[in-house]
């Protein structure tokens, strides 16, 4: 394990100790089996304690984990015959969004997702998963195509946000996001959106208007990053941890606020610990979603999509 988060250090230390004792038992005459089983029991309790009650800030760190699986990791495991297509036909191709078609359980689907890199070089190529307008316009082009060929759309959300750059503004970042929100509202095919890492603001939402919205347990979805919120609200970015607790950004918060449909569990210790298992957890929820949505006719689908968003929000009459 290359990447250990501070709060999971006790678990890692204990695991290392157990491994050490096992090695001693194996290599020498000394039998430490009893000690090992005691420690393994203690490890189980410790893991339950640490991973079973992650604090919002710890989930933020999980969502940002360097080894956390990305859109392409899930595409590889959930779909067959994936072909990626490029370009918005207007300006260029944005590697911060991948988009293409594949089979999901023998049925053609369109898959669109933010794409981070896993190392510096790839991150630079993919602009850390922060799209320009051409990324959103590519996504929209493929969504329209999905509609034409009657394919469901599956969106993976994983971005710190739309890229705050000069060129992005010049090419209409606002309009690109707004257009996606509006057009996704009217697509006559089922849309399932799954937040797999960070769901950052409008840049996330631009792939996020759908019939079912799910979140991986340790992913986050927020109007602004905890650091940004802390700087804006309290003029102190170091209060990010506090902001993460106050702003309600975890999957549990969003479920409680009636924004998302389901929380997809993660393997103990986070999605990166077992990507295959994580893909299976996604598979279960995704297939259920698509099955449900397939029973609606077009009119029903759009009406339910509107009803879903119509109820989001909290206000009073006074």
């Amino acid at each position: 394990m290359k990447h250990v988060l501070d709060f999971e250090k006790p678990v890692v230390n204990l695991r290392e100790k157990i491994a050490e004792l096992k090695k001693i038992t194996q290599d020498s005459e000394m039998d430490l089996t009893d000690e090992i089983s005691t420690l393994e029991e203690r490890l189980k309790v410790l893991e339950d304690d640490i991973y079973g009650n992650l604090k919002p800030w710890e989930r933020v760190q999980m969502a940002r984990h360097g080894e956390r699986p990305t859109t392409l990791d899930y595409i590889e495991r959930l779909f067959t015959d994936f072909i990626e297509f490029h370009g918005d036909r207007l300006f260029g191709d944005d590697a911060a969004i991948v988009s293409g078609i594949a089979f999901y359980k023998d049925k053609p689907v369109t898959i669109i997702g933010h794409q981070r890199g896993k190392d510096t070089k790839e991150n630079i190529r993919r602009n850390f998963g922060m799209p320009h307008p051409e990324g959103y316009r590519k996504a929209l082009r493929h969504m329209k195509q999905a509609e034409k060929f009657n394919r469901p759309i599956i969106c993976f959300i994983d971005t710190k946000g739309a890229y705050p750059g000069k060129a992005a503004e010049e090419r209409g970042q606002s309009e690109a996001i707004a257009r996606n929100l509006m057009e996704m509202a009217g697509l006559t095919v089922p849309i399932v959106c799954i937040v797999i890492g960070e769901g950052g603001s409008g840049g996330a939402l631009a792939l996020g208007v759908g019939d079912h919205i799910h979140m991986l347990e340790n992913s986050t979805y927020s109007v602004i990053s905890p650091e940004g919120a802390a700087a804006l609200l309290w003029k102190d970015a170091s209060l990010a941890k506090h902001a993460a607790e106050t702003m309600g950004i975890t999957s549990y918060d969003l479920k409680k606020l009636h924004v998302i449909d389901e929380i997809i569990p993660e393997p103990r210790g986070g999605a990166h610990r077992d990507v295959d298992e994580q893909a299976k957890f996604i598979d279960t929820v995704l297939s259920k979603s698509l099955k449900t949505l397939a029973t609606y006719d077009e009119e029903e689908l759009l009406e339910k999509r509107w009803e879903k968003y119509k109820q989001i929000g909290d206000y009073t009459n006074r």
């Binding site: 739309a162 890229y163 705050p164 750059g165 000069k166 992005a168 503004e169 010049e170 090419r171 209409g172 970042q173 606002s174 309009e175 996001i177 707004a178 257009r179 929100l181 509006m182 057009e183 509202a185 009217g186 603001s201 409008g202 939402l205 631009a206 996020g208 208007v209 979805y221 927020s222 109007v223 602004i224 919120a229 804006l232 609200l233 106050t246 702003m247 309600g248 950004i249 918060d253 969003l254 606020l257 924004v259 999509r305 509107w306 968003y309 119509k310 989001i312 929000g313 909290d314 206000y315 009073t316 009459n317 006074r318």
Partner: protein, 284 residues
């Protein structure tokens, strides 16, 4: 035009602002934010709060805007009672809302309703940047979505004047979701053949510019208005480069193909009326 504004601003900026403030007798006189020149408040009001010297468009309150556009006594307000709750139990949020309610006389940062613009019936929404900097929370999203739905049902055009610093932080992800909610309402309205006109006023940024403000059939702006997605400071920090002075102004957006037209406030009512007339169903 834009060059003029900035040129003049520099020329008059020699009065230190603190001293300038003290020179202005409260109530009677008002200083232009563009050129620092001092005017009689009465005079400023007559010119719709546009500086007669430099053309600077000072923000209008929601009701000043309504008065500037609608035929006298035709505007009927909708959903005035809707105001924000505190879904995240955010500390001090209610106090801040109450303070701005007292300051503006509004329940929330948007007024919606319908009335006649040069005899054309129109559904309308106008944001007021004096209320929590026009930030969009659940109450604003709800009021706008309802106004658009009303326009769809009554088969009348919908005009919205935006003025917003973006999302309402204190409502977290619920404020983000108002972008989706309003956009879906507009899609339904648009699919039903409805005409939507968006006018962006100073400032229209963040979640508001990235949702309803940018998806009108026509997107307009007032001169000099700040319009953009990300904030100037964040962009400068990200790209480590100083941005040009006119970055994200209405004129900049026009130049980059993001707006249909920049409209001077004194032309606004006539332009809207003309556009409404051009979209009236013929032969009836």
């Amino acid at each position: 035009m834009l060059k003029d504004i900035f040129g003049k601003r520099r020329r008059y900026a020699s009065i230190p602002s603190e001293q300038g403030k003290m020179d202005v007798p409260e109530g009677l006189m008002q200083k232009c934010k563009g050129c620092n020149k001092i005017f009689y408040r009465k005079e400023v009001k007559k010119s719709l709060h546009v500086c007669t010297n430099c053309g600077y468009h000072h923000p209008l309150t929601a009701w000043e805007r309504i008065d500037s556009l609608f035929d006298v006594d035709t505007f009927v307000e909708w959903d005035a009672e809707i105001s924000s709750a505190n879904p995240l139990n955010f500390p001090d949020y209610i106090e801040k809302l109450e303070k701005d309610q007292k300051k503006t006389g509004l329940n929330e940062g948007v007024v919606t309703g319908k009335g006649l613009i040069d005899s054309h019936p129109t559904a309308f929404a106008v944001m007021d940047s004096n209320f929590r900097m026009g930030s969009m929370g659940s109450a604003i999203g709800e009021k706008i979505a309802r106004a658009v739905e009303n326009a769809r049902k009554e088969e009348i055009p919908f005009i919205i004047f935006s003025a917003s610093g973006g999302a309402r932080m204190q409502e977290g992800v619920l404020s983000l979701m108002q972008m989706a909610k309003t956009s879906i309402a507009i899609k339904r309205f648009s699919d039903a053949g409805g005409l939507m006109i968006s006018v962006m006023t100073h400032p229209t940024t963040g979640g508001v510019s990235a949702s309803f403000a940018s998806i009108g059939d026509y997107n307009f702006a007032e001169p000099g208005a700040l319009i953009g997605f990300a904030g100037r400071r964040i962009i400068e920090q990200t790209i480590r480069e100083k941005l040009p002075q006119d970055f994200q102004t209405a004129e900049f957006q026009l130049k980059h193909g993001q707006l249909d037209k920049v409209i001077h406030r004194k032309e606004m009512r006539n332009t809207l009326a003309q556009l409404l007339k051009l979209h009236e169903k013929g032969g009836e």
